[in-house]
């Protein structure tokens, strides 16, 4: 940072107040959108009378080619050096015009956009005269404002050629692999001891019923062995500093207590006396205190769970290569990266909150979630992929699946539809029916949502093999205290009959919710979150990958529920966007930053305290200095300054005054 700063300080923003302003005003009809309400001719005529205005025209569509041409011609012929266009909003066509004058060699910040459509014509259709009057005021304000507009240079900021990827689920893996393939060094940080995420827990993936292990292992291996990817498991983000293009990240790596020379022979684990439920197996099997989550786990190194270890040192003694080492300690690594990709994934919703379903209560052991079912079915499962009732280990004669558990439910605060439950419920129902033809499988749904290629087909084939679909959301799962048998009470809404379904086993299709620890992570990253708790994308349609903060990108389900293919696609785009500035080697930033008049400055330090991105710091003799990269040009420092010494370029008190005076009806400033 500091180094760059010096560079910044040298070149000062030079303004051309010397040459007197020649302003061109252009009023757009926007078809009838504006002209229908506002008398544009009148506005133009008035504008013509304003000082420094050399040209005032009105035209049907300013944004059209001829319209833009008018702009350019005025610059060529009349030497207009500031343009005011009264049409639509700044972000819609303001950019168009700014570009246009830039092409004519005038700084694009010399263009002043006046929004008479959204702010005037569209909202005051009824009161045409008043609308016109207002439009005139607005235009005058625009002219006043443009009179003192200064050039703002766009500067190139070199970026650090490295990327950080948070989370080594399918999305994270994809993203880091793509980034690495683009020749960018990647630091991949994973909270757990193994990579692969939820996908490795699955049994089959819809719609083709492929084995996820087989699909993901090339990627996991590829990432693990890629020369450019540095993998940190058992690691978490501690702190993030810096700004877009140059981040500085502290990564805390918890010890594995097993050195890398581990041959994963498994002796330690087999002899470990401690047994605890396996998280990876979502509690469907036990693991030891020193363990490997699953045979194919990457990295293959075993890991010791300090919390549950009783330190009997059996493993230490038994290990043939003396890899086990309890003395290992947590280390913190600091890396410099240019972009960050967040792929922290999701957690499965915990249905205990929905009391009528009694999930996790005693007597209701046979109520499980889809993820648990996946674990049961999977080839590596304890039941060797048999479906057995947790309560008595029998094969269930009837299985009921309940959809929309924790999604589409305002009581638990999740309004959204997770969108993949229908798909995996149907998939699992299909598999179950294949395995046990004489078990009747029922799916209770509100709506079956299987959009896209192949999914409706999957639905169809599942219906064919005799899975029963009942349209209705079960109100409760009742248990007969005497016999202990479960009944699912649901209305078949299509025949208007309440049903009591016998259920040896109930599978809840739980929603996808933001992962645990998203809160701290979010605040470390300083990115906005949606009200559901996922990280908010920059724009839902146009840029679902960028986060609210420049240089930080979202991949996969951290942005919202997605299935695997969507996550992979999302991750790909994240990788591409994250790579762009790093490959280019610089980012362009408009130097719309405050300048400090040191004659006025009294070193009170107010601006320093108020600056949110901490972009103002002091030099050796206590004078404030603006860090032009970190500055987000919010202008908060301006009012804080008692002597008005610090002024945000093109938003100076002086310029605002001109605008205010016109808007508030005080008449033109030069009169």
């Amino acid at each position: 940072m500091a180094v760059k700063e010096e560079k910044m300080e040298k070149s000062e923003v030079e303004s051309e107040d010397s040459e007197e302003p020649r302003i061109g005003v252009f009023c757009c009809h926007c078809g009838h959108n504006i002209a229908g309400t506002v008398d544009v001719a009148q506005v133009a005529d008035y504008a013509r009378t304003l000082p420094n205005v050399v040209k005032a025209e009105h035209y049907m569509f300013m944004c059209s080619k001829p319209g833009v041409q008018m702009l350019k011609d005025s610059i060529k012929e009349l030497g207009v050096n500031r343009t005011v266009v009264a049409s639509c909003s700044k972000n819609q066509h303001g950019i168009t015009f700014a570009k246009a004058i830039a092409e004519e060699g005038i700084n694009k910040h010399r263009h002043q956009q006046v929004n008479v459509r959204e702010y005037c014509s569209w909202v005051h259709k009824k009161e045409q005269d008043k609308a016109t009057a207002k439009a005139i005021r607005l235009v005058e304000a625009g002219v006043n404002r443009s009179r003192k507009l200064e050039d703002v240079e766009t500067r190139r900021i070199p970026t650090t050629k490295a990327a950080l990827v948070i989370g080594a689920g399918i999305a994270g893996l994809r993203a880091s692999h793509d980034l690495a393939e683009l020749g960018i060094p990647v630091f991949l940080v994973e909270k757990n001891s193994t990579i692969g995420g939820h996908m490795t827990q699955m049994n089959k993936t819809f719609p083709t019923l492929e084995c996820p292990q087989c699909s993901i292992s090339p990627l996991t291996n590829g990432v693990a062995n890629h020369p450019l990817i540095e993998l940190y498991t058992n690691a978490q983000i501690k702190a993030i500093g810096g700004s877009m293009g140059n981040f500085e990240v502290d990564i805390e790596i918890k010890p594995r207590y097993v050195k890398d020379n581990c041959t994963s022979c498994g002796d330690c684990s087999t002899n470990c006396p401690v047994e605890v439920p396996s998280e990876w197996d979502s509690g469907m099997s036990m693991r030891n205190a020193i363990y490997k989550a699953y045979p194919q786990a990457i990295p293959a190194t075993f890991v010791r769970d300090k919390k549950n270890c009783i330190e009997c040192n059996t493993c230490v003694n038994i290990c043939p290569v003396q890899a086990v080492d309890f003395s290992m300690e947590a280390e913190t690594k600091t890396v410099k990266v240019g972009s960050i990709v967040v792929a922290a994934g999701y957690s499965e919703y915990d249905p205990t909150e929905i009391e009528p379903y009694h999930y996790g209560q005693e007597g209701y052991e046979d109520v499980i979630t889809q993820l648990k079912l996946e674990r049961m079915l999977s080839p590596t499962s304890l039941t060797n992929s048999q479906i057995l009732r947790p309560s008595d280990g029998k094969i269930p004669k009837s299985i009921v699946m309940i959809q929309c558990v924790g999604s589409r439910n305002e009581q638990v605060g999740n309004k959204y539809c997770t969108g993949v439950c229908c798909k995996f419920a149907i998939k699992n129902a299909h598999i179950l029916k294949d395995m046990y033809p004489d078990t009747d499988v029922t799916i209770c749904y509100i709506d079956v949502r299987t959009p896209g290629l192949n999914f409706e087909e999957m639905y169809q084939s599942t219906q064919e093999i005799g899975v029963r679909f009942i349209r209705g959301r079960p109100s409760e799962i009742t248990r007969n205290p005497l016999t202990g048998e479960l009944k699912v009470i649901v209305e078949d809404t299509l025949t208007m009959t309440p049903l009591q379904l016998d259920a040896d086993m109930v599978v809840l299709s739980a929603a996808m919710v933001p992962p645990e620890g998203i809160g701290p992570l979010g605040s470390k990253l300083k990115v906005l979150r949606s009200k559901e708790g996922f990280l908010k994308e920059f724009h839902i349609k146009m840029n679902p990958t960028l986060s609210s903060k420049g240089g930080i990108f979202l991949a996969g389900t951290i942005q919202g529920p997605k299935d695997i293919s969507e996550s992979v696609a999302h991750a790909g785009s994240a990788a591409a966007l994250a790579a762009a500035p790093l490959v280019r080697g610089y980012i362009e930033k408009e130097m719309l930053v405050p300048t400090i008049d040191y004659d006025l400055c009294v070193n009170c330090g107010m601006c320093i305290t108020i600056c949110a991105p901490a972009a103002i710091d002091t030099d050796e003799d206590g004078k404030p200095i603006v860090n032009k990269v970190a500055c987000r040009s919010c202008g908060m420092c301006m009012p804080s300054c008692p002597t008005a010494a610090i002024q945000l370029i093109n938003f100076t008190d002086d310029q605002l005054y001109d605008e205010i005076i016109a808007v508030s009806g005080g008449g033109a400033v030069c009169e």
């Binding site: 929309c404 079960p474 649901v490």
Partner: protein
């Protein structure tokens, strides 16, 4: 009961619906967002044994089908609030049914028994008046013969409250409508 079945059978035209009518209800509960998931009917104790189909009633309200007000089923709700508790869209069916009953009452669709109960309330200030049997018991149990309720005061000849009740509360539509309703019932 049977008539309403008939109603289901014959097809309806726009004229049969009054979309404005239930505006009031919509405002009070989020009925407009009902997704017809059937949780209400499934959790309805009464619905398991009777013709009460909460979801259908809500549906009719959403459509603005006024026949729901003639529908005797709405009087079968035991107001156990089970649906209210469980509705994923927070539609509050119980409240809606209450509202419907209000409308129905305005139209005079109200059973004689209920009329009687209201009568009691107006006369004695209680839905369940004290009869001699109970007085006896009270004495036996060593309580004062009458609790100091509005009723007691009436006994003592001062019944200004109850007169006021008479005047201002629960004025139900005149009897003839009720008669009509009964005929419909038969």
């Amino acid at each position: 009961m049977t008539e309403t079945k008939e109603d289901h059978r014959q097809f309806k035209t726009e004229e049969d619906f009054d979309k404005k009518f239930f505006k009031d209800i919509e405002r009070r509960s989020n009925i407009w967002q009902c997704i017809q998931c059937g949780t209400c009917t499934a959790s309805c104790e009464s619905g398991r044994w009777t013709a009460l189909k909460t979801r259908m009633i809500l549906r009719k309200v959403v459509l603005g089908d006024l026949s729901v007000l003639e529908d005797p089923d709405i009087w079968l709700c035991t107001t156990c609030y089970q649906c209210y508790e469980r509705c994923p869209r927070d539609v509050r069916p119980t409240d809606v049914i209450m509202e419907l009953r209000n409308y129905a009452t305005k139209r005079g669709n109200i059973s004689p028994n209920h009329r009687a109960v209201v009568g009691y309330f107006k006369k004695f200030g209680h839905a369940v008046p004290i009869n001699d049997e109970i007085r006896k018991r009270r004495v036996e149990l060593g309580l004062e013969e009458l609790p100091p309720t509005a009723f007691k005061f009436k006994e003592e000849g001062d019944d200004k409250d109850l007169i006021k009740f008479e005047e201002h509360l629960f004025d139900l539509p005149p009897l003839k409508e009720e008669k009509k309703k009964e005929e419909e019932k038969k």
